[in-house]
């Protein structure tokens, strides 16, 4: 049962306590760029979930292979190769099944390749020497955390559109302030696991 507990803890802690966007400031580009509509932010979040989970599933054995060949220093290059191919695949799938989503994601879809959240997860998983299950938990938690935060943020932004904000703060400035307040709110979850001792 121990492995199950650490798996679940890895998911929750990387989702809430160590949220990529709000506490490590990864993936800010799509976070601000695609959060104007709830639908497209949901699509973006799901695409990122897919890419992060599959890239960490592929990258973990890949790292063991690189370790075996004695070329650990090539890890970042190899990860980027894997991530870029996965993003291409996601692009193909979305183009086939939802052309309207494909249009609304626009340039941000290929830009998942350079989304530092994706590379950051793969890199930190192997750098910390996590087991396969823990790195999978980390990937699920991180990506679902990204999805949750970008959807919450887009809901807030939709309401901000019609809110009576001062003219100088319309659009991006008030969005940045909102993001800062959200980051502070998530800081409150920091002590979530102190009772369990994790």
């Amino acid at each position: 049962m121990n492995w199950l507990l650490s798996f679940v803890l890895a998911i929750i802690s990387s989702m809430l306590v160590d949220n990529v966007v709000l506490s490590r400031f990864y993936g800010i580009c799509p976070f601000l760029g695609v959060s104007r509509k709830v639908n497209s932010s949901l699509g973006m979040g799901l695409a990122v979930v897919f890419v992060i989970i599959f890239s960490s599933i592929i990258c973990w054995p890949l790292y063991q292979l690189l370790d075996l060949a004695g070329i650990k220093f090539m890890d970042t290059v190899a990860y980027i190769l894997v991530i870029a191919s996965l993003v291409q695949l996601v692009g193909l799938i979305i183009k086939k099944y939802s052309p309207s989503l494909y249009k609304s994601l626009g340039i941000y879809l290929p830009l998942i390749t350079t989304n530092c959240a994706v590379l950051g997860v793969a890199q930190s998983n192997t750098d910390q020497g996590l087991s396969f299950l823990d790195s999978l938990g980390n990937a699920i938690g991180t990506s679902v955390g990204f999805l949750a935060v970008i959807v919450i943020f887009s809901c807030i932004r939709v309401r901000l559109e019609s809110a009576n904000t001062p003219k100088a703060f319309k659009g991006l400035p008030i969005a940045l302030i909102t993001a800062a307040i959200m980051a502070m709110a998530f800081m409150g979850l920091q002590g979530l696991f102190s009772g369990i001792g994790a």
Binding site: M74, A78, S85, L89, L92
Partner: protein, 105 residues
């Protein structure tokens, strides 16, 4: 020796992923009406957007799907150079069910 391994591993990885993508492209191929491409070719291709669509490709899509019948919406288009060829082409290439794509000037 390390360099050799690095090249080999990355080459293999690239080959594997490339092959996977090639198969995926076949699998997720989006079949597009080739008439869209043909109509877009006969439009002026300034992509000026004065027709109200996002570009010549978008207008061609609207024409083929029957949403747009008025070719004159295309402001820079010339009757001889653009509209006549499009009408001739659509005359020769009806929809799958045999009906004609309706367009007028």
């Amino acid at each position: 020796m390390e360099i050799l391994w690095a090249i080999l591993v990355l080459l293999g990885l690239g080959l594997l992923l490339g092959l996977g993508l090639a198969i995926a492209t076949k699998f997720f191929y989006v079949k597009e009406d080739e008439r869209i491409e043909e109509v877009a070719k006969r439009l002026p291709n300034y992509n000026c957007g004065s027709c109200g669509y996002a570009g010549c490709k978008a207008m061609a899509e609207a024409i083929i799907s029957g949403k747009e019948e008025n070719l004159k919406k295309c402001k820079p288009g010339k009757e001889e150079a653009n509209f006549k060829p499009i009408m001739e082409y659509l005359e020769e290439h009806p929809n799958a069910d045999g009906s004609k794509v309706k367009v007028h000037l």
